[in-house]
Symmetry: C2
Subunit: 234 residues, 2 copies
Amino acid sequence: MLWRSIHDRLHEEIATGHYKPGEKLPTETELACRFGVNRHTVRHAITELRDHGIVYSRRGSGIFVATKPMTYKIGRKTRFSKNLVHAQQAPTLRFLRLETRHADKIELENLALGRTAEVHVVEGIGLSNNIPITHFTSIFPAAPLDGFIEALESAGSISTALAACNILDYERLRTEITAVLATPETAIHLACQVGDPLLRTRSLNQSNNVPIEFGTSLFSAKHIAFVVDEDSSA
Amino acid sequence: MLWRSIHDRLHEEIATGHYKPGEKLPTETELACRFGVNRHTVRHAITELRDHGIVYSRRGSGIFVATKPMTYKIGRKTRFSKNLVHAQQAPTLRFLRLETRHADKIELENLALGRTAEVHVVEGIGLSNNIPITHFTSIFPAAPLDGFIEALESAGSISTALAACNILDYERLRTEITAVLATPETAIHLACQVGDPLLRTRSLNQSNNVPIEFGTSLFSAKHIAFVVDEDSSA
DNA sequence: CCTTATTTGTACGTATGTATC
DNA sequence: TGATACATACGTACAAATAAG
């Protein structure tokens, strides 16, 4: 599986923009030298990248980057609709579940609610360029957000539905990031293989120092790399 | 594989401190209700957690959290030695490779160096409580860091070795985060199984607006969750 | 247009580890 | 245990397309 780690490495360097679209990769021989492997091992990795449309190769000329980088910025102003860098089309949401119910212990704790409080639960898929990027579940306090579910159904965007409930601005307070493996269920939602690496975030947004959203998201690591940029997060 | 996602979820909630050490988990019946599955499915997940020493269970009493959470803060002041929250012992480094060589293209670009510049390469394992947490490779510009390798060998810490070269302070400029699977080689270094989910970071540190370190690190997702905290990153 | 060097593509062979029967 | 098949990784050689002069 040596070729796999080389594949992942090259894919990451393309996804994060270190090799830019149209740019020529180093030659197979150079890459083999860089990774300390045989040329065939590099070719195996390149073949996989080409099969996924990440690069294309021209005999006698070289290997070139085909895709645009897809990075997801993590910072104070993290919003799904704006943080997918270089997405060709506007990202869209598809909702799988919209309901209001009693909060469990972890939700109460994160949203700083009383023990019998109700919450809005929003589960859905975030798509960019018609490919599923993230499977998310977001929890909102029900009390200050009357009519939120209805606003969400018509608006199709979290930010605008919050705006309809007079939450005009909010900030990302904290983001936890872990890695997990795709289960059969998430593999269906994210159109990936069981066992593929995923990034999971658990995040808390607040508005005027009041917790307003507690969300859990799964991102396919195949499509997305997170970027924490201390310059632009301020 | 339903039990796996429940296992991952509980493990994350323990790792990130939502369930604290010594604290009692909800009962198996409550958990079964929360996840909408049969109690046996929850038991399967719990069994796995117990086998890994994450929780312990007492008949008639309940299930309790055994481990301390290990979270790794990502922010301006990210340093391995200080960012492992709740580590019982001071983290240590074990070096696998210390050398000086010519930089490749990506290294030149990130460190903003001329095309024939040399770099110090430091590869090693970061340990906390004697268990391997991260496998890292860091690249430093050689020109402004004369005697860095020697300082590193005697100091055993990146920060103090940099201080010996008159780099008294530095800041994390950018962190990229992706998820990959453990290959046989990394499985050895991180004492995990092949195919386990890993977090990989690629980060750039600078001192006085000059790039000073470009590093790639693999973290075992079993032991670590990243936290991007907008409060404390400032 | 030809030559030459570069670079990808293809085809052999060898060795090793792993899974299966 | 042995036999077989398969995937991985390395080595070498050469054909075919491209780029540069």
